[in-house]
């Protein structure tokens, strides 16, 4: 039953990615060329409003499903790891013009070639899992 709730939130996410144009390969290219404020406006608004909401939930000790409070388990700070891993992701993000969420939404929009990108991403994830113990974390 709980699955239906996440399915509905997912539908809203898919509609949002489409109507925001954040799923657009062209919008990502435009963003990295600093030729439009559009993507920065979206991410900036989401982070500012998101931070306000998360802070209020913490201040008022709002209980979430399962009875717990809003928490965040921080990653151990490792500047090298964050910058290197982020850069690897960014190289791919700009090339295929889609981050993970939009990849799936593009498939729903009827751009089926994106499944090749998803296959590459699954293989990349698998490769990381096989060699992760050799990487600095």
């Amino acid at each position: 039953m709980k699955g239906i709730i996440f399915f509905l939130i997912g539908i809203f996410f898919g509609i949002t990615m489409t109507k925001s144009e954040a799923l657009s390969w062209f919008r990502i290219y435009e963003m990295f060329r600093f030729e439009s404020f559009h993507m920065y406006g979206i991410i900036g608004t989401a982070v500012v409003i998101g931070a306000i909401i998360m802070t209020l939930l913490k201040i008022f000790k709002v209980k979430v499903a399962g009875g717990g409070l809003v928490t965040y388990t921080p990653l151990p700070l490792n500047i090298k790891r964050h910058l290197i891993s982020g850069t690897i992701f960014g190289l791919g993000w700009a090339l295929v013009g889609a981050c993970p969420g939009p990849m799936f939404v593009l498939a729903g929009n009827g751009y089926f070639f994106i499944v090749v990108v998803i296959a590459g991403a699954v293989f990349g994830t698998y490769s990381y899992g096989m060699i992760k113990d050799k990487l600095p974390h």
Partner: protein, 189 residues
């Protein structure tokens, strides 16, 4: 009147608000907003968990994400196929000119005309397109797992929780994105 509400794209402020609302909904549902873990879950579902504990699919912890992604695909169908914006993304004219130099014509290289994906460039019968798609996807999958999150997990969720590791990761996203867009794509595409 109603048509003007359902079909067009949204202003960036409405879109940002909607994303923050999704973060709120998933947080209230007791989950952390992050899409890239889906790739790890797919690895687990096709049996990689037997070889490596890292990929193990934990139904109680992971199944919600599959429902979410299923919904995301349906949401894309609703917004893009059932109620599509009749106009293509209004891209900046300098961007369109730069794309032309790369050999991508806007918006005609998007077969559906939305300005969402250049699928006349990334075609099924182009070996180059397959290599770019697989290599680019590989970088996204490898990078997001190594980073322990992607745009949703770090740029939205992590920054909303004032996480320094997320800020550094997002800086990395832009280092990689800028290098690819300005220095590598002219040679690759």
């Amino acid at each position: 009147m109603l048509d003007d509400l359902i079909y067009p794209s949204w202003h960036w402020s409405i879109s940002g608000l909607a994303i923050a609302f999704i973060l709120f909904l998933l947080t209230m549902a007791g989950r952390s907003f992050g899409v890239s873990t889906t790739f790890k879950n797919i690895c687990g579902l096709v049996g990689a968990g037997k070889k490596n504990e890292f990929f193990k699919f934990n139904y109680k912890e992971d199944s919600w994400r599959l429902f979410f992604i299923g919904g995301a695909i349906v949401g894309g169908f609703i917004a893009g196929v059932l109620f599509p914006n009749p106009y293509a993304v209004s891209l900046d004219s300098d961007t369109i000119f730069a794309l032309e130099k790369l050999g991508i014509v806007y918006p005609t290289d998007d077969s559906l005309g939305h300005g969402f994906f250049p699928d006349n460039y990334f075609r099924w019968d182009s070996l180059k397109a397959w290599i770019i798609a697989l290599a680019g996807g590989f970088l996204v999958g490898f990078g997001s797992r190594y980073a322990d999150g992607c745009t949703s997990g770090h740029a939205i969720t992590g920054l909303s929780h004032f996480q320094l590791p997320s800020l550094l990761t997002v800086i990395g996203f832009f280092i990689g994105g800028l290098v690819m867009t300005h220095f590598l794509m002219p040679f690759i595409l």
